[in-house]
Amino acid sequence: MSTLAASSEGGGAALDQVIGMSIAAALVFAGLLLVGYLHRNRKITWLTRLSEAFGRRFKRPPWVALPLALFIATLICALFGFIWDVSLHIGNGRDPGPLANPAHYFILFGLFLLFVAGMLAVVLPYDKPGPAAVRITRNWYAPVGGILMAGCGLYALIGFPLDDIWHRIFGQDVTLWGPTHLMMIGGAGFSTLTAMVLEYEGRLATRDQEHRDGIGLKFVQYLGFGGVIIGMSVFQIEFDFGVPQFRQVFQPMLIAAAAALGLVAARMMMGRGAAIAAALVSILLRGGVALIVGPILGSPINWFPLYLGPAVVVELLALTPLIKRPLVFGALSGLGIATVGLWLESLWIAAVYPYPWPLSVWRESLAMAIPVAILVGICGAMVGMVFTGQRLPRRAIGIGIVVATVLVIGGAVANGLQYRVPKDAIAAITLTEVSNNNGHKMVQADVRITPPDLISARPNWVSIMSWQGKLNNERGIVIDRLQRVGPGQYRSTRPIPVWGSWKTLLRVQDGHTMAGIPIYLPADPGINKPAEGIAALRPDAKQIFGAPHFVSEITILQRERSFAAPTWLWTTACLVVLACTLVLIAALTWGAGRINGSETSRAAEAEDRPKVQA
């Protein structure tokens, strides 16, 4: 997902392929339509029997059990594909061909089955699935969670054609934070919430039956909240691999926001210890995927936030009477997460991440994370209220909170995106060959930045990064934080690769200053780029010296990107993606409000006029 294939040929074969794939699409469409049609008209029974078997096993209605089982399986598959894909792109660069990246299949299948899981919940029920169900026809009602899940799947899948259009206009953006990439991962991320909504609707529909939720079901619910936390963490993945292309101040904010939503809701719905349990489940899942992708498959290593510090903060706050006032509890949890929680998390970041948080990052980070986490915490509390059947605040207030959250996140992101490239700053770089086995040239780097005070005493990083060196060469990624040896003077601490397909650059980030210098970028005929960087221009020299100017990092990191398209087009394209995203958030808000409204009014009327569920 993070970068897509660069095709090497022109039109020729493509038309056949388009026809073939269109036929495949038609078959898939016809197959799904047929099964749905036959099921709705009761002409087949296998789908009913299958879903009922799942229902008995999980003590949930069939229209919850089967879709959720499919959802869990498919989302884990998509998560694995996603992390693996990102790691392959970091280690290998863009794909040499369409079939060369197996991770894409996991993502594609995962997102498609996510949509199918949602549609399954929509299609399965013959009887009205709970009071909040949405009428499709007079004798067909769909659960809200199913509709939202299918919507998330659709949103993510629409990312594919939009992504293609995007690449055609703007070239490939080799970053996770391309707007269309955000759609794909965001759709999958938010779908975790819809799964919890569906699970809740199933719980409502079976509450009159005599059974207790067993330990298996409890685990599924913990898994759900662990999933929500992971789902909200997908935007951090570049940080997790040590290849962030944006300012570091984003990272604490993103962690705080994910924690505030998932942990507050988990604690409210599932009681004491649930926040910690959800964090542990997310560690288990992310850890498992990281283990397979890194050590087992030999791709670049990725880390992940633990969320344990934030979870402890939430648990402690929940021991106070605050828990009885959900919105206040959510807000204070957000505040606690964005301060104490982040500090605890920073210890873990410092221990394992390539770029720890320096003292200088905190001021701006807190200014971004605290308001975001407070508002997201309130949203998390509202999610918790929905899942516990507590009446939400008045509609205007509830919607107002969601709108305010979106605006505050938007403001924080806008601030985070501000950076400057220093004008007329140069770095005198001396590269000394330390080894050269069969042309595998490794160098030691001395860097002298002018002006010497360009970089403060505590920058976010001054580093040399080499990536896309292919998996069998140190997993294709080398990150070396340079050792400061004097004012503006730095030295590498390990051999730096400057050969083959490696792309090596000097990276500097200090507050708002974010810039880089190419050291070794091989010629890339696929995108019409010549070799760049002092090491690439004199490959045979034992010692190389150069003093290039700093440039904007994206011109190096996103070499494939085309900057030729006009700005208005870029803005319009971003607005289209933004509109899709706002529709998704609005839909989730609507769904939560609808379930809560029908549930709380049902409770109010329960005494005198018990409603009969169809």
């Binding site: 294939a5 660069a6 269109s22 299949y105 007079r138 299918a150 005929p525 494939e560």
Partner: protein, 59 residues
Amino acid sequence: MMADQHTDILAHHALLLAIPAFAPAIAIVGVVLWVAMRDRRIPDDPTTLDGDKREPDRR
């Protein structure tokens, strides 16, 4: 080792692979919306078996 000639169509293979996933999804949502709208156009009379019988197709 990458493409050896200049390339102006990027990513179309990945789009190709995605066609069988996103196109049916969009089409199915279209069908469901169509079914829902058609049902709402038919007068709300429970005896119109005709309409009732034909509506519930879908996916």
